[in-house]
């Protein structure tokens, strides 16, 4: 990313590779999350294309069963933990401080550490392909299949890789929670926070309370595999893993979708030129989804044998989640209702999001009809359902966010023509790929099967799905080209290209290192909009005349004398987070190959980690540095 340093903004933007390695700037870390996730997205997408090629015909021979099992496992694992979650983290990193009017997140170095550990775990997971085989037990890693073949390190990569991603996410979440609860600008009460940031808070809570449970399960899996413990085999019960996994895995679903819902809740008001309809209801429904998301994990286990009472209870609880979800959808439609809907690219993707998410949500309701789920569970119907939610919802939402905020990141628009191609091809390809899977699943095609016989009536729709998946592939190549090209050659956007409502549009594009020349004082939801517009007696927005040129809007808080003149303190760059993360990743590699030579590697990793952690906490501090 190229930043314009010619303006007299202070402090200056450092440049060079080393400045990226030692950066603690939330915007740069957000960028790195985004780029890493995008690369992983293309890798996981390629895996999906191989899967689709294999399934295009009955008895497909393009992949062996072994290769197929690795690819579908890694596709799921990568998409969920290394793509969608980090893309969420990318947006959160970049926009939480901007949304609440802060200079940075609470712990910039811990934030850098989270990213580097995420990167280390990502590299670890992907390296498994060439180091003994990738995990092949499904992304849910059901025991005792996942603990069965101790000869292979594949599921050790899963146990350790996911563990490291979890640690990184817990730290990032604690960071975001501390940031939002303690570093908001004056006047930025909780009920004035932009919805995206609210959803980020909910997501952080979900992660911080669900990941430790998963962590325990992963440790148990790892011990069962390597130290002969009996958590899931012997006298142990395989269902324990399923509980621990889904106690994390279900909140995780909301971790994936809530940021996208937050993004869409930002975009729809801007392009409808109306405030979000029922802001408190949208916020509270998000919180309600978070709470309820913790109470329905067992709906992934209807066929596992919980007993009819538990199945009925979880079935009803699951249905109830549809209520707050519906509230969000109605409020988005309510926002457009009576507005001036502009069909800019972010809005197109947001409309696509709402429309497709409705389908995914409704097929989710059919799962809560427990007996119906006895048929649908682990069939392609489920695959269709969660792709409508996570791709039709999540990815559409995130892409909408990318088109919306690209001008803020780079100061330039993404190309509209290419964007339109991207949108329509993606919409077409997506529906061609995943809508037929509903039919396949209802007609009995199970998931995770590397081949199927002839005469089962699955050939045609599988071919359609394969064609669709390549259309999606093409659409994302266009997107990638657009990102690369527009970064330097796009139309210049200026600080507030969409006539935005939230604080990030009040500063230059790209934002200066310190974000805000002065910390804004907030008086409204959508405070920036209220600085630009008043309402007439009919309630229509009226642009205020004293606004200078529609660009940078001066706040009127500078001269009130209540804040003493002071130097701007930005956190110092540090390489210790990278050292510590490298150390932990090394420990992880050691544990994968433990016992034996792995212990040596783990020992070396521990020393590196200690170097990083002690260096980090004992690093001579610049006196004026007040951040951790």
């Amino acid at each position: 990313m190229v930043l314009d340093t010619s303006k007299d903004l202070v402090p200056a933007q450092p440049t060079g590779i080393w400045s990226w390695i030692t950066t603690v700037d939330h915007k740069r870390i957000g960028m790195m999350y985004g780029v890493t996730a995008l690369v992983a997205f293309f890798i996981a997408g390629l895996e999906a294309l191989f899967i689709r090629l294999q399934l295009a015909t009955p008895n497909g021979t393009i992949l062996s069963a072994d290769a197929y099992n690795q690819l579908f496992t890694m596709h799921g694992l990568t998409m969920l933990l290394v793509v969608v979650m980090p893309v969420g983290a990318a947006f959160m990193n970049y926009f939480i401080p901007l949304h609440i009017g802060a200079r940075d997140v609470a712990f910039p170095r811990a934030n850098a550490f989270s990213y580097w550990l995420f990167l280390g775990a990502t590299i670890m997971l992907l390296s498994s392909f060439v180091l003994g085989g990738a995990p092949d037990g499904g992304w849910f890693g059901y025991a005792p299949l996942s603990t069965q073949l101790e000869e292979f390190v594949r599921m050790d990569y899963y146990a350790i890789g996911a563990q490291l991603l979890g640690i990184a996410s817990i730290m990032a979440s604690a960071n975001f929670i501390a940031t939002v609860f303690t570093m908001r600008a004056p006047g930025m009460t909780l009920m004035r926070i932009p919805v995206f940031t609210w959803m980020a808070v909910v997501v952080s809570f979900l992660l911080i309370f669900s990941l430790p449970i998963f962590g325990v399960g992963l440790f148990q899996m790892y011990f069962d595999r390597n130290f002969g413990t009996q958590f899931f085999s012997g006298g142990g019960d395989p269902l324990l893993w399923q509980h621990l996994f889904w106690l994390f895995g279900h909140p995780e679903v909301y971790v994936l979708i809530l940021p996208a819902m937050g993004i869409v809740s930002e975009i729809i008001p801007v392009f409808s030129r109306k405030p979000l309809f029922g802001y408190p209801f949208v916020v509270f429904s998000g919180i309600a989804i978070g709470f309820m998301g913790f109470g329905v994990w067992a709906h992934h286990m209807y066929t596992a044998g919980l007993g009819p009472v538990a199945e009925a209870g979880f079935g009803i609880a699951t249905m109830l989640i549809a209520v707050p979800t519906g509230v969000k959808i109605f409020n988005w439609i309510g926002t457009m209702w009576g507005g001036k809907v502009r069909f800019e690219l972010p809005m197109l993707f947001s409309i696509g999001f709402v429309s497709l998410f409705v389908i995914g949500g409704l097929s989710g309701v059919t799962h809560s009809v427990v007996p119906s789920d006895y048929q649908q569970h682990d069939s392609y119907y489920v695959v269709a359902h969660f792709h409508y939610v996570l791709f039709g919802g999540g990815v559409f939402g995130f892409v909408a966010g990318a088109y919306y905020w690209f001008p803020k990141w780079t100061g330039r628009f993404l190309d509209k023509r290419m964007g339109l191609w991207h949108f329509w091809l993606m919409l077409l390809g997506f529906n061609l790929t995943f809508a037929p899977m509903h039919i396949l699943g209802l007609n009995g095609m199970p998931r995770r099967t590397y081949r199927y016989g002839e005469g089962l009536g699955w050939e045609f729709w599988n071919q359609v799905a394969t064609v669709g998946s390549f259309i999606i592939g093409v659409s994302f190549l266009i997107f990638a080209w657009n990102l690369i090209k527009s970064r330097k050659n796009g139309v210049e956007a200026g600080p507030d290209p969409w006539d935005g409502r939230t604080l990030e549009w009040s500063i230059s594009s790209p934002p200066p290192v310190h974000n805000f020349d002065e910390i804004p004082i907030v008086e409204h939801v959508d405070d920036f909009w209220h600085r630009k517009y008043a309402t007439d007696e009919e309630g229509r927005a009226v642009r205020m005349t004293d606004v200078t040129g529609g660009t940078l809007v001066e706040t009127d808080t500078g001269g009130d004398g209540s804040h003493e003149e002071e130097d701007m303190h930005m956190p110092s760059p540090s390489y210790y987070p990278l050292v510590a993360a490298t150390g932990i990743t090394t420990v992880g590699y050691g544990l994968i190959y433990a016992p034996g030579a792995g212990w040596v590697v783990a020992g070396i990793g521990t020393l590196i980690t200690m170097w990083g952690v002690f260096g980090w906490s004992l690093e001579p501090v610049t006196r004026d540095e007040h951040h951790d």
């Binding site: 202070v10 402090p11 413990t229 006298g235 142990g236 701007m568 303190h569 956190p571 760059p573």
Partner: protein, 197 residues
């Protein structure tokens, strides 16, 4: 990064102390889930002894003594914190050391206890009971060990006079962590030992 003259900033608004404490508390809430999962695992497998040793091998008087030692380390820890707040390096140093010693004693007791149990035939792989017991108490022990390490770091800092510098780690945060490790043991002692005999 050097700072230069800049427009007004509302700097004092973000005192780092409460920010750190908020993060620490939410982290401790997260740890509740971590230990809760292991305690639930133990409860599930409390009778899955596979004809091997079960809770009858526990030596309650011994564990009571080491539990009491850990409990009292919370007292010394809070006294260390009190001295830290009063900017009294000598008292801080003494109480930190006392806390670390008590923690080390607890760890030594745990090592002794584990050795005894292994001799009596209970290992990680004997039964689901053994797996759950060692995992729970072992992870707790690891937390105590990390706590001792942090206490000793603070102790070391007290000599170089940097104890009161404002850095990532300080006596208050170490104290919160240490007390948390103690309260987890309060639950473990009840659930794993007292309720099983």
């Amino acid at each position: 990064m050097t700072s230069q003259s800049a427009p007004v900033e509302v700097h004092d608004h973000h005192d780092i102390k409460p920010i750190r404490k908020a993060a620490m508390w939410v982290f401790l809430g997260s740890e509740c889930m971590f230990f809760g999962s292991m305690i639930a695992t133990f409860l599930l497998y409390r009778n899955e002894t596979a004809d091997g040793p079960g809770a009858e091998i526990f030596d309650i008087p011994f564990t009571s003594a080491s539990s009491f030692i850990l409990l009292m380390s919370s007292l010394t820890m809070v006294l260390a914190h009190n001295a830290f707040e009063n900017r009294d390096p000598r008292a801080t140093r003494i109480w930190l050391l006392a806390t670390a010693m008590l923690g080390t004693t607890f760890l030594a007791g745990q090592v002794f206890e584990f050795t005894e149990f292994v001799h009596k035939g209970l290992t990680l792989s004997t039964s689901s009971f053994g797996s759950a017991f060692y995992m729970l108490t072992g992870f707790h022990g690891a937390h105590v060990a990390i706590g001792v390490l942090m206490l000793m770091t603070m102790f070391y800092l007290s000599f170089s006079g940097r104890l009161f510098d404002d850095r990532g780690l300080n006596v208050e945060l170490v104290g919160l962590y240490w007390h948390f490790v103690d309260i987890v043991w309060i639950v473990i002692f009840t659930v794993v030992y007292l309720l099983q005999v």
